[in-house]
Amino acid sequence: MDFEFTKEQKDIAKAAREFALGEFVEKAEEFDREESFDDSIMKRAAELGFLGIFLDERYGGAGLGVFEQCILQEEFAAVDLGMSVATLTPVFGSEIIQKFGTEEQKLRYLPSLTSGDAIMGCALTEPDAGSDLASAAATAVREGDELVINGSKIFITNGTRADFLICFVVTDPDNPGKHRRHSIVIVETDRPGFEANKLRGKLGIRASDTAEISFNNVRVPRSNIVGEQGNGFAEAMYLFNLNRIAIAAQGVGLARAALEESIKHVKKRMAFGAPLAAYQAIQFKIADIFTLMQAGRNMVYDAAWRIDQGRIDHRLVAAAKAFCGQMAVKCADMALQMHGGYGYLAEYRVQRIYRDAKIIEIYEGTTEIEKIIVAKSLLA
């Protein structure tokens, strides 16, 4: 067992931090306030090879693993989560195309993602089907060589900026197995009948685009099905395993940001004739944030390393995601508390960290859903 990064991983972490510090810091507050983003930042990240680091070199990726993706996620999130999500999610879902797609689909869609020329998204959640993904009801009905899609999706990251989405739709309603009724289908967003509306007023990650989507007789060729028809649920679960751990890494990054902000503040802020850092109640919070962050990070590294070894431990992935979500929220809360009234103001970065943290507990499976997965596996 070796707990050191390889030299290459160290260099990646450093390069990612430098990029995020150079590109995110100045804009983070504005993009958070305005709920906007500048895609040229994402394009620059793509040119530097940060997008789809886990994709094959054949498709413009770096041929690295989930572990390296987690390093990027932590480093970017430690600077600003909203901008990190906006920068890194244009390839969200490409894992499914690489794993289950035909060679033709891979060559058609993946290189333009890694080069930053195209943006994708992943449309699973519906207004009436969130945690219970298998009850998703949008349909794709076969007509000749085409599929006709109807229904709606909600909370779709990149919904209004994407060039195409992979959509989780019912293709086999009569299949007796509820996990064999759906397929993953690529839908280009310029097809007639596709509509996306940006959802405004999010609590956090406001630089990231989130949209509701409706399909009104949207026609796509049948060849847009990714993988086997009816295999959509398994494909979505495959994606969750890879992405959940990356989301957990975002939580570690946020905790690190919370720690950095807190240390700076408590050393400077005077109360009762001494800096806050002199008081043990404050010191314990600092120690707790560090401890929780490091515990989460170790879970992330462990789970991500196993994925790259080809031994996915879905229980560990779910446990890491549940832990890191709650951990990030708790660390952000302690950090804000140490800032007192100043932390309540938008001009203090800790306020944004506090608002951003909650999403780690919600997307890619809520904390409760992750715990259900862990418990099911233990009690089986």
Partner: protein, 259 residues
């Protein structure tokens, strides 16, 4: 065009509260993160730009420990062709020793241009570049903020005091100490990192360079490092905007800035 760039890994000290160590000869460095010296980052970028424009070969050299190789990997990732680390062993070199060692190494490598940073962020001596050039008998210029190469000559601009620049033409080979802001250093790319990880870093032992003993003796003896005493608090100015502006201008003049 053969270009050698001398680079240094230094602790990142912005927004860090430095604390002296028990020896009072240095600051505590255990918790500090190391980065490429800011000036050197501009120097390596400048070298790679020259190479990209006119062709050539860029070698990055550092005097340091194995952990300092990260600064060389960074240079390789940015586009340098070759990297050399001079192992410093137990030496704790001052600027004159660094210059003696680096010039002994650089002498053995073909070079048209040698670049260093104006100064390093840790000790701020600001003389290493000039000392190397003097040892090699090279033409040199410091605080270079523009550099154009054509037909064996360099058009340079040197930053003087009071916002003035001095333009000169220099016949190569020459050494230039590069000022920040001369260019916009590129980010390190994942492709660059992957390429760099496949390149070998050459290691040379400083003690094996055949330097005379006096070259490996410090010429500067540090007696004690201490924190500057805390100065008096701020002066609060009173008055309307016009009179405030007058007062500020008077203070700036008094402090020696020519407006």
């Amino acid at each position: 065009m053969n270009i050698i760039v001398c680079v240094k890994n230094v602790p990142f000290t912005q927004e860090v509260d430095l604390v002296l160590d028990a020896s009072k000869q240095d600051v505590k460095k255990d918790n500090l993160v190391y980065v490429i010296n800011e000036w050197d980052n501009y120097a390596i970028e400048e070298a790679i730009r020259i190479k990209e424009e006119t062709g050539g070969h860029v070698t990055a050299v550092t005097l340091g420990k194995e952990a300092d190789e990260e600064v060389l990997r960074r240079c390789l990732a940015m586009g340098a062709d070759e990297a050399i680390r001079v192992e410093r062993g137990d030496l704790n070199p001052d600027a004159s020793m660094i210059a003696a060692i680096l010039s002994a190494v650089v002498k053995t490598i073909p070079h048209d241009i040698i670049l260093t940073g104006v100064q390093s962020d840790d000790l701020n001596n600001g003389i290493t570049g000039s000392l190397i050039a003097e040892r090699l008998g090279l033409v040199h210029a410091a605080v270079v903020n523009s550099l154009k190469i054509s037909e064996g000559k360099a058009q340079i601009s040197i930053e003087l005091e009071g916002g003035q620049d001095e333009m000169s033409q220099v016949t190569l080979p020459a050494l230039f100490a590069i000022q920040t802001g001369i260019n916009e250093p590129r980010y390190v790319s994942i492709m660059g990192i992957r390429k760099a990880s496949k390149k070998e870093i050459k290691v040379i032992d400083a003690s094996g360079l055949g330097l005379p003993g006096e070259d490996l003796q410090p010429s500067l003896i540090m007696e004690e490092m201490f924190m500057p005493p805390e100065t008096e608090g701020a002066e609060m100015l009173q008055g309307d905007a016009g009179s405030l502006a007058d007062q500020i201008i008077r203070i700036i003049r008094e402090k020696g800035v020519s407006l």
